[in-house]
Amino acid sequence: MLARLRHIPLVAFAAGAALLFGTALALIFFYAPIDADQGLSQKIFYIHVPIALTAYACFGWGAWKAFQHLRTRAPGADLESYAAIHQGVIFGALTLLTGSIWARISWGRWWTWSSNQLVTFLILFLFYSAYFMLRYSVEPGPARANMSAVYALFGVVLIPISWLSIRIANDYIHPTVFTTHGPQMSGSMFFAFCVSWAGLLALAATMYRIELAGKRLDARLRELRELLA
C-alpha cells in the first residue's frame, strides 16, 4: 500500500495536505468542544500530539528505508532514509516547541526533567539530530550510506521506549490520553484529532517528496556536471 503512494502526483499530496489541515483547523476551533478541565489551552493537543506521532512515523520510515538499504542495497534507499529522518527532526523540534508552550500554560514551566515522556523524546530527537553530524563527517559513498543506515536502525529502538515510557513508569505529570481502554476524549475531539493527524501526515509526506525530488535533481546535476567538465 505504501509503495502505491509513490505513484500519487506530488500536487495531489500537497492539495490533500492543505485540504485536510484546513478542515482540521475548522474542526479544532469550531467543532470540538472546549475541554472542561484544561479550557482553551487543550486546543494545543490537536497539533502537539499529531506532530509528535508524525515525527515517530518519519523516524520509523527512515529506519525502514535504512533497513532496505542494508538488506537489498536498494538504489535510493539511503537518500530516502536521510530525507525521512530530516523530516522527523523538523517535526521533532516542533513537538518540543509546541509541548513547551503547552507545558508553560498547564504546569507553569517550560520544561520538566521529571517527566519520562519528555526526556525520552528529547533523547530520541538528539539521537537523530546527531545522525546528520555522523553523515556529513564521512565522505559520500557506500561507507557513508552503510554507517548512516546502521545508525538510523539503532535509533528506531527509542521510539517504543519513548511511547511506552509514561505507561511503564507511572508518569503523573504528562497526561496519558490513549490507554488500553481507548482514547480518553469525546467522539468529536477524537475526530478532530484524527483529521489533524491525517493533515500533518500528508504535510510530512509532501515535504518528504519535495526534499527527495530536490536531492535527486541535485545528484543528477552533479553527474551531468562531471560528464560535461
Binding site: 479550557g39 482553551l40 489551552s41 486546543k43 494545543i44 497539533i47 502537539h48 506532530i51 523538523i90 523540534a93 516542533l94 516547541l97 509546541t98 508552550i101 503547552w102 508553560r104 500554560i105 504535510l203 515535504m207 519535495i210 526534499e211 530536490g214 535533481l217 541535485d218 546535476l221 551531468l224 556536471r225 560535461l228 567538465a229
Partner: protein
C-alpha cells in the same frame, strides 16, 4: 486576549512559522538548482559549438 488564547495562538504560530521557514529554504535551494541548470546548459552549448568548429576544421584539412 487571555493567557490561554495567547499560548494557543503561539503554538499554532510556531507550526506556521516553521512551514514558512521551510518554504524559504526550499525556494533558496530551487534558485540554486536553477542557476546550476543554466550553468550546465551554457557548458553544453559551448561544447556543441566547439565540436562543430572542430568538425569544420577537419573538413577544410581534408
Amino acid at each position: 486576549m487571555s493567557a490561554s488564547e495567547k499560548y494557543v495562538a503561539a503554538a499554532y504560530l510556531v507550526l506556521f512559522v516553521a512551514l514558512l521557514v521551510w518554504v524559504v529554504i526550499i525556494a533558496a535551494k530551487l534558485a540554486r538548482l536553477e542557476r546550476d541548470v543554466d550553468e550546465l546548459a551554457e557548458l553544453a552549448r559551448r561544447r556543441v559549438e566547439r565540436q562543430s568548429e572542430s568538425e569544420e576544421r577537419e573538413e577544410v584539412s581534408v
